[in-house]
Amino acid sequence: MDDKIIDCITKAVIKTFEEMAFIDAVYIGNEKQEINVSHLLSVDIIEPIKGCIVLFMPLECKKKLAENIYSKDFNLLSSEEIDDCQLELLNIIAGNFLFFYFGNSKYKLDLPHIIFNENELDFNNKYELFFAAEEVIFKVFLAI
């Protein structure tokens, strides 16, 4: 395990949740926990090295994020708005991670997207980190 990677992704997640959704996220470790999700949110890192960041976000966490970002009740939001705000959150997490880890190097991200099959995440050098946001646990998968 690379401590710098863990430190950078942790800082990126906490900063993005706080600045974008006004939610305090806390890193709780890498001990495996069951997270129930309907689909995964993924963004590929293209430069300077290949990799990806994937969010495993339970419905309760999605609800809180979408409501805070849109300042609207969850039931009034469209499914497009709900998915899009999670993808945008991931996009910003990825941008922050790249900045913390690679500094002023040139880097490039693909567009964030939804995936349905966890088997697509077939990487050797991977990190599975768990966070809590308002007592709901979610997972960040990082491979580089």
Binding site: T16, E19, M20, I69, Y70, E80, E81, D84, C85, L87, E88, N91, I92, A94, G95, N96, L98, F99, G103, N104, S105, K106, Y107, K108, L109, L111
Partner: protein, 125 residues
């Protein structure tokens, strides 16, 4: 400089909503906002409609922000409209590249009213 009509270009509907909200909070509540979801859509809208400020993301499908900016800078009727980039991917290298192609200001996402006010102040210098 007055920004009566502002074009916001971002493939994320959430991001466009947040940017618009930040401009409104920043005191531009009388401005009209035109939204485009990628560079190609924006270029098409700009052929018909004149705006006072262009706010664009970089990482977008169809035509990204870099190519859009380069295209706009070749058009006499558009090249002098100030452009602000709002992106999740920024550092000194990216900022230097964007400034070299004529961008007036760069904001790192997530955008806030404070960041908008600062950039508008710099543009109006």
């Amino acid at each position: 400089m007055e920004f009566k009509k502002i074009m916001i270009i971002d493939d994320s509907v959430t991001s466009r909503m947040i940017i618009k909200r930040c401009f409104l909070i920043s005191g531009l509540s009388d401005s009209v906002f035109i939204e485009a979801e990628d560079g190609l859509h924006a270029a098409s809208l700009l052929e018909k409609d004149k705006v006072d400020l262009i706010v664009t993301d970089i990482n977008m499908p169809k035509m990204d922000g870099n190519n859009l900016i380069k295209k706009l800078k070749t058009k006499d009727e558009i090249k002098d409209i100030p452009i602000i980039v709002i992106t999740s991917i920024t550092n000194k290298t990216v900022e230097d590249e964007l400034l070299s192609i004529g961008v007036k200001g760069i904001i790192k996402k997530p955008v806030s009213p404070e960041k908008i006010i600062k950039i508008l102040g710099e543009i109006n210098g």
